[in-house]
Symmetry: C2
Subunit: 366 residues, 2 copies
Amino acid sequence: MKIPEFAPIPASLPATVPFVGPETLQRQLGFDFVARIGANENGFGPSPKAVQAMRDEAQQVWQYADPTSHDLRQALARHLQISSENIVVGEGIDGLLGLLVRLMIAPGDAVVTSDGAYPTFNYHVAGFAGVLHKVPYRDDREDPDALIAKARETGARLVYLANPDNPMGSWHAGAVIEAMLDGLPGNCLLVLDEAYVEFAPDEAVPQIAVDDPRVIRMRTFSKAYGMAGARVGYAYGHPQLIAGFERVRNHFGMSRIGQVGALAALADQEWLAHVRGQVISARAKVAEIATENGMFALPSATNFVAVDTGRDGDFARRLVKGLEAKGVFVRMPGVAPLDRCIRISCAPQTEMSVLAETLPQVLTAL
Amino acid sequence: MKIPEFAPIPASLPATVPFVGPETLQRQLGFDFVARIGANENGFGPSPKAVQAMRDEAQQVWQYADPTSHDLRQALARHLQISSENIVVGEGIDGLLGLLVRLMIAPGDAVVTSDGAYPTFNYHVAGFAGVLHKVPYRDDREDPDALIAKARETGARLVYLANPDNPMGSWHAGAVIEAMLDGLPGNCLLVLDEAYVEFAPDEAVPQIAVDDPRVIRMRTFSKAYGMAGARVGYAYGHPQLIAGFERVRNHFGMSRIGQVGALAALADQEWLAHVRGQVISARAKVAEIATENGMFALPSATNFVAVDTGRDGDFARRLVKGLEAKGVFVRMPGVAPLDRCIRISCAPQTEMSVLAETLPQVLTAL
């Protein structure tokens, strides 16, 4: 007997895995990584106050989380000086991107992104049978003019832009993003992924009225707040757009411990400033290691550094595999010409030392 | 300026909230509940070993969870004596039901459930423009014959059945469920929601080959394992069906702390047995309180009890509101004739005493 058929859209999809997790790689390799610096996780960790709050909440995990994430939305509203009606909390930006695509995209609708940008967004677009149009990066940055031109050409419903960018770490001035809004075609939404915004210089943060209906901004506790494993992200924008998520989201999808941790993390802006300082030092350290090894670190406004190997994608892929085999987990961009780089997450000194020691060994072996 | 239009299906949906959380009610009432016994949460709590495991993991929350939930799936496979390829882990049964509906249902496809059964399933069916057909309960139980007849009549793609049932606490013998499979129309899947199965008698658990392509079973750590706030559920069935989830799920959607907690909870079957005993005692206590107040507790194979008020839905609704006003959170079935009942979660002695004290006061006032 065969299983019942999938619906037509899922039936047409491959069983994509946007990212292979380090645990899977470890099982394949047969040992654990010594330096886990591939997923842009924040090894400087969450605020100790957030850790304590999560510990204290463990006993209460028999209770569902508040499905409205009321307290966290209130705190975010105060932090951003907006209203809680502008904010939806979800299971990381990944989860929110999936909901947004579902909310906006009918089969055949055009969506624009950059070739080499976030694969999970592309996964969601494919998952709802949207038609993805990609424009190339330009000078290792996403290309706002090309994105807008492609959106107008295709009548796109969504344009995705990460600022700062992943996987390159590059960024645009906020004014550039603001100008993009005026270029968008009608009935199109700019998806501004600001996962790394807390690491960016102030001028990279656009000033946009929160009820501007042309943009939705997504942020997360996974990166600067060091809570990737808690799955707490949020989106903010026009209240009618935000209210739309109530039609499609998994209302009881949030972890109670994650909510409590995020609340405590947000309240500890001192820790955030401390982490930001640590990340800036680690970026310099990665750049130093790159230079020592005849490579070049691209400028970064994130907690990772794209290191230009000066060679091609094949070389970079062998380098990534070589590092993995020595216990160093890094990743790299998926498409040329970005894939001449490897992407290294900023981490505490222990991991940086392992990198400094391992990288020349692997390069020599190659 | 208006916001960009939603896609046609979400545009047609109301901003449904399947359940109003107790936190929202508390904010409306202006005080906290003294007895939180309305959401079938398990106040006997998670295994102390699970609590400890979650506490110990809090510091590691900077790492994403393993997107394959490998260790938890392996442990579940051992526990159920099946293969990990038969199992997908997700953000609670709520999340998995949404993914399953997305995987199976195209707009206009027929889906069958019972009138008064789980609203969140209905929410997901509406969310993907499935057409829901409902059959009435029969003697306060879901009606397998009627479900199958309706499925055959409508050419349904999915039939939903919870065994034991929520909101009535009733159950069918496993053999009845097994027989349903032979009655299903072709190309149709039975969604067997076993959220409460650990509280049920052995004979309520059907014996079905794990690769039977006609059924998918869903279970959770939210109820008997006392971890509702951790959002860890799982589905198991034919490996091709389970593999289908890879096409649509949020791969990095699981909380790391939840995974670790679930693993420890599963390993502590002694605690599960202890909780089961406590729940059985609490069921008897609820029945006793019901009797003392001239009402009647329906038999239950779950951690809640449907208490028949002997009156109608209007009365039961006033009773629920009256209890809320006195600090006792309970819920009730949504449709007649089930709505003559109120639904009370089994809880420790403190909550049971509050109930015993409050219920006669509210009844007198009514």
